[in-house]
């Protein structure tokens, strides 16, 4: 069966420090991969999605970037964190042929 791993679960980082959140999927190949940010009262905001290695679509201009160095690996990064980057970040995958997305457990990021 397919599983999605996202780490770390919680992270506290100072302003101006770099960020790297990693997400990997097991048990499937060529998944679509997603990064969302969840904020109270604002639902899930799609940040990036990828339909293949090296193919990244950005939805919201911001201080973050994403990369997909391997088929089942999706990384969310920042060179310098801002206070406004604090939030709950969720990784998700889908099988790529217009199916539902499956979510990881999320990372609670606090920028101090």
């Amino acid at each position: 069966s397919q599983t999605i791993h996202q780490w770390p679960a919680t992270l506290v980082q100072p302003v101006g420090s770099p960020l790297s959140l990693e997400c990997t999927v097991e048990g499937t190949s060529n998944p679509n991969l997603y990064w969302y940010r969840q904020a109270a009262g604002r639902g899930l905001q799609l940040l990036f999605y990828s339909v293949g290695i090296g193919q990244i679509s950005s939805e919201v201009p911001q201080n973050l970037s994403a990369s997909r160095p391997q088929d089942r690996q999706f990384i969310l990064s920042s060179k310098k964190l801002l206070l406004s980057d604090s939030g709950f970040y969720l990784c998700a995958w889908s099988s790529g042929d217009r199916t539902e997305a499956f979510f990881g457990q999320g990372t609670r990021l606090t920028v101090v």
Binding site: G41, L46, Y49, E59, L90, A92, G106
Partner: protein
């Protein structure tokens, strides 16, 4: 670009009451539609989905949703809620032309009084 609106931000019901949560989307073409649920402290789970066919879709735990294309709506319903239905509910849309991009609404928090 597609978008999703959930107009009810917080709904409070007593047990055994009927539930209907509104969801409207904005997109003129063919869509896939989803309802997800997030129980307290848990990750997002799929409640039900619509791809094609019968516009009345049945999901887990007695939930159902009806796709009304003319109204661009996909409302979630349950005839009799339970305390365990307390959770946050998210509607989502995937447009066929958008390479599997899934857009979510802002969510509805459902509180059930025992």
């Amino acid at each position: 670009a597609q978008s999703v609106s959930q107009h009810n931000h917080h709904v409070i019901l007593s047990e055994a009451a009927s539930l209907e949560l509104g969801c409207n989307y904005s997109y003129g073409g063919t869509v896939n539609l989803f309802w997800y649920v997030q129980y307290p402290g848990q990750h997002l789970q799929l409640l039900l989905k619509y791809f094609s066919g019968d516009p009345l879709v049945k999901g887990i735990k007695g939930f159902e949703a009806e796709f009304i294309k003319s109204k661009f709506s996909f409302n979630l319903r349950k005839p009799s809620v339970q305390w365990s239905d307390t959770a946050e509910y998210f509607c989502a849309v995937m447009a066929y032309s958008s390479a599997s991009k899934i857009i979510f609404g802002s969510g509805t928090r459902l509180s059930i009084r025992p």
